[in-house]
């Protein structure tokens, strides 16, 4: 027994040597980071792509849009991701960071649309809201009403209680940009634009984490509470939750596609051109993602809740991204 102890001490050294051997090899698997909203779509494409058997299934991390951009813009090479998913367009600051680190040629792919639903349990009332009303209900700078009918007598006499996504999520970014900023009164907007997007901290807006399944359970327990979901989540759980119409427009595929539903946004992914031809399969992954088979009007991503681009936009995308056109800012 006593021999083993002294021998075991040698193991770490052996392991270190083994480690060194593994690193030298270049990567043969695509690495993808970024938005948790794009994650369900990217993973489906990746799985189909991997099932073809020619290349390994890409590794996809759900880091959030901002976190993904940070990793993506670290530089070029096997240690950095090849693709970054984003639920909003790349910011100028992120673009500059990329440029500074030598990531100069980036292919931008806006592959589809998403709508954000303001939903409650089916037992509760179905509402018709405007962005102005939503801002009044949720903003720190607003009138901070206790009940919905204090905003408008036509709304129900019920406590305002909204489960909002955390600040790290792209859905929150989009909510801020599309609802809080748009519904904000001009006076406040001109005084301090950023303060428009501040949410109430008196318990009416509750930060609920990224777990949508948990939020649905909470809505079930409290029919007066509302939650904020991506369209694909709503689509999968229509038997439990209902979405409020915004400015009279119901959320569905058509209204998101033509942006008549006010809380609609495009979804993106970004590819490093320098990695194409170096990381095996990257070009093919890009092609798989923009194929009619995936994002077309009959594509398999539609079953997962993606709202397709209009035919014209899609044709342009397939031409541009297929031709590896790089973006400029």
């Amino acid at each position: 027994m006593y021999i083993s102890f002294s021998k075991l001490v040698v193991f770490p050294a052996v392991l270190t040597v083994a480690m060194q051997a593994g690193i030298a090899n270049a990567r043969d698997q695509i690495q993808i980071v970024g938005s948790s909203t794009v994650y369900p779509f990217a993973t489906i494409v990746a799985e189909r792509f991997g099932n073809r058997g020619k290349f390994k299934t890409p590794v996809i991390e759900s880091t959030g849009t901002g976190g993904g951009m940070k990793l993506f813009c670290q530089g070029i090479g096997a240690g950095t991701p090849d693709v970054s998913n984003a639920s909003r367009a790349m910011k100028t600051s992120e673009w500059e960071n990329c440029q500074a680190n030598g990531v100069t040629e980036i292919i931008e792919v806006a592959f589809g649309n998403d709508g954000i639903a303001f939903a409650n349990d089916k037992k509760g009332p179905k509402l018709n809201l405007t962005r102005k009303q939503l801002w009044m209900a949720l903003a720190e700078k607003g009138p901070k009403p206790k009940k919905w009918n204090e905003i408008d007598p036509s709304l129900p006499n019920a406590k305002i209680s909204v489960l909002v996504p955390p600040p790290t999520s792209g859905t929150r970014d989009a909510w801020n940009a599309l609802v809080m900023a748009k519904g904000c009164p001009e006076a406040i907007k001109t005084a301090d634009k950023d303060s428009c997007e501040m949410l109430r901290e008196d318990g009416a807006a509750i930060e609920a984490g990224e777990n949508d399944a948990l939020i649905v359970q909470k809505l079930e327990a409290d029919p007066t509470a509302f939650g904020i979901f991506g369209y694909s989540y709503l689509e999968n759980n229509r038997d439990r939750i209902q979405a409020a119409s915004i400015e009279g427009v119901e959320i569905d595929i058509d209204t998101i596609q033509d942006y008549s539903y006010p809380i609609s946004r495009p979804l993106f992914f970004y590819v490093k051109k320098a990695h194409i031809g170096v990381v095996p399969g990257l070009q093919e992954y890009l092609n798989e993602f923009i194929a009619e088979d995936a994002i077309g009007n009959d594509g398999y991503l539609l079953d997962a809740g993606l709202v397709p681009l209009s035919d014209a936009k899609r044709a342009k995308l397939q031409k541009d991204a297929g031709g590896l056109m790089v973006m400029s800012k």
Binding site: P12, G53, G79, N211, D212, A213
Partner: protein
Amino acid sequence: MLTTNKKRLRKRHRAETRFRAYGVLSLLVAVGILFTLIYSIVTHGYSAFYRTTLLLDIELDPERIAVSPPYSRSALMQGRYSSLVKRGLYALFPEVTDRRDRRELTALLSPGAELAVRDYLIDHPDSLGTTIVLEVPMSSDYDQLYKEHLPRSGENLRFSEQQLQWFDRLLQEGRIRYRFNTQFLFGADSRYPELAGIAGAVVGSFYALLVCFLLSFPLGIAAATYLEEFAPKTRLTRIIEANINNLAAVPSVIFGLLGLAIFLNVFGLPRSTPLVGGIVLSLMTLPTIIIATRASIRSVSPGIRQAGLAMGASPVQVVFHHVLPVALPGTLTGTIIGLAQALGETAPLLMIGMVAFIANVPATPLDASAALPVQIFLWAESAERGFVEKTSAAIMVIMMFLIMMNLLAVIIRSKTQSKVE
């Protein structure tokens, strides 16, 4: 005088009874919570170990698959199987001819159906050109319908009237089977709940724990032995001791940040791999092992040391021949508890990229991989209803491993202890 004494005595007795009642009550509450937790997980999760399959007659027509001889494995991998499966299904419903209706009909099938045909053909290349009877997976919604997790009636139903009729007809004809889901136990993650498996995460966790054990066990024992038996008791060693104790209380996410900064950025180790995961987890288990080992070395009777020294053994011999073997049960228990803690950690793995979609079972610790708690986290976040049962089932799997590890600790302790005595 006497009455007051009696009163006081009664009061004290009552206090004692009350105290016992509180004890029993809190124990009941704890057991009740544990039971509710296990009950809800098991009732939600057991159905994930089964899945519904559909019995189809499939004609393996080489022309439709678009393969030509020689039928090599890679050629068969590239073949097209989706139309074969669809034809098999259409044959059961010859009256459905409209394109839109047929699209509704194929919604019964999982995307895994064509993969099942492909895998069958790769295993049986001779069957090319014949018609086979094969069980292929049904799509998650119908799997959930069979398990009565999705409603059959109500508003915003996930099924149309005719889809329900088709489903019932298949059920009557005995074409729908309810099978043990081997893919769940032996497959890797998938975006389709009916195809998702836990093996990728189990193997990833295994590799991470292996690396963690190989690093932290020898290092921990060496450090503890030196500190306890050989180190001079100076101010410096006292500072080191205090810091080891502090290290055990550091939130685990910080070790993840350290792993990101040092192992990934400085040493350039590959991201998302169990190797890095194991190294980061070993930072976490090291203090636990050191503390447990030191405690068990300290509890070794001084008589054993003195007897060894009196017989002329050197201090190193005394430590390795006598003290450590006696201290082993405590050391192993500490190690296993440390590893069990590491098994349940997600936060440090988040930082080094192990919280990711990985559809392959890792072959080595250098392949990208998820881990068990990470898999639970990822499934719990998914929109598809089929992942609800998968989440609970994954929790059942990780709890089983934790119970097994703790049981191992108990067995080792009782066995070795009786041997030493």
